[in-house]
């Protein structure tokens, strides 16, 4: 009888362990979030190309839980994946649109997905 109760309690603990893993899915203040924030403060959110349609680099909003992006290019071992560090946040940093200075157009024969001028930026928490 007692053995049965013990087994039932153990089963309950096992079930609750599973529910704990589900509950701790995502939280804004995890250490990976801090890593991403620090890394994003060291380089711009855009690449060197502008989007032909918008005449500026375009920030494509992705979920804040997105972690990696894939780039494609011609040639062997040119398909790389990078972490998405940048995230939209509060605080207006300045002019939202400054023309095309310093940006290149998409080449006539694009050879890399970054050349289309669309760059991933994660949405806010």
């Amino acid at each position: 009888m007692n053995r049965k109760i013990l087994l039932q309690l153990l089963a309950l603990v096992a079930v609750m362990c599973g529910s704990v893993e589900q509950a701790s899915a995502e939280h804004p203040y995890t250490y990976t979030h801090r890593w991403a924030q620090r890394a994003a403060a060291t380089y711009p959110w855009h690449g060197p190309y502008y989007n032909q349609q918008y005449q500026a680099p375009v920030a494509l909003v992705v979920p804040p839980t997105a972690q990696m992006r894939q780039t494609y290019s011609w040639g062997v071992s040119q398909n790389l994946s990078y972490p998405i560090h940048h995230q939209f946040g509060v605080g207006a940093p300045g002019p939202g649109y400054s023309g095309l200075q310093g940006f290149r157009p998409t080449p006539q024969w694009p050879s890399h997905t970054d050349q289309f001028g669309t760059y991933y930026v994660r949405g806010p928490w």
Binding site: V13, C17, V90, P93
Partner: protein, 165 residues
């Protein structure tokens, strides 16, 4: 005797687990209604002295003499911006991907829990809104979730069973 002790220990473990589960589920992102604005709040704008350059972020709780705490009106709609180092251009999230021409106007989303970017991932938010000079607190809890089974059934219906018309 030993068995009963063991049962007691297991029961204590269960209780501890229950408490920790409650803590985990209570880890919601609390969005307070602190004033965060692109415009300077409470400046002497009539004399043209609205504070620093445009684009400053001013918190409603700052700049009050004597450390008195105020509860301002929450901002009508706050935009989100890109950050980073040596950006050649900055982007704002609404209206995405770039501002419409000035003569078109602007889109305001006045209810924070319904902003579209909240639907990008599963999470829970709690919105705290002070009113009546800080004597009242309105809490709004928003859960962004799509039940997996129900969503799968809807997808089957929408992609295979629905008459395309």
């Amino acid at each position: 005797m030993r068995l009963s002790l063991r049962i007691t220990a297991v029961a204590a473990a269960v209780m501890a687990f229950a408490a920790s589960t409650q803590n985990v589920s209570a880890q919601e992102y609390i969005v307070s209604s602190q004033v965060v604005s692109d415009e300077v709040v409470g400046g002497d704008c009539a004399n043209g002295n609205c504070g620093g350059a445009s684009g400053d972020v001013v918190s409603g709780d700052m700049g009050i003499a004597g450390g008195a705490r105020t509860y301002g009106h929450p901002h009508l709609f706050y935009n989100y911006y890109t950050h980073g180092y040596s950006n050649g251009v900055n982007a704002q999230m609404y209206v995405s991907p770039q501002p419409v021409p000035p003569f078109v106007g602007h889109t305001f989303m006045t209810y924070q829990p319904l902003e579209p970017h909240q639907y990008l991932y599963w999470h829970k938010d709690t919105y705290h809104n002070h009113y009546d000079g800080g004597r009242g607190l309105n809490r709004t809890r928003a859960v962004y979730y799509s039940p997996p089974v129900g969503t799968a059934v809807q997808n089957v219906y929408w992609n295979w069973l629905r008459l395309p018309r």
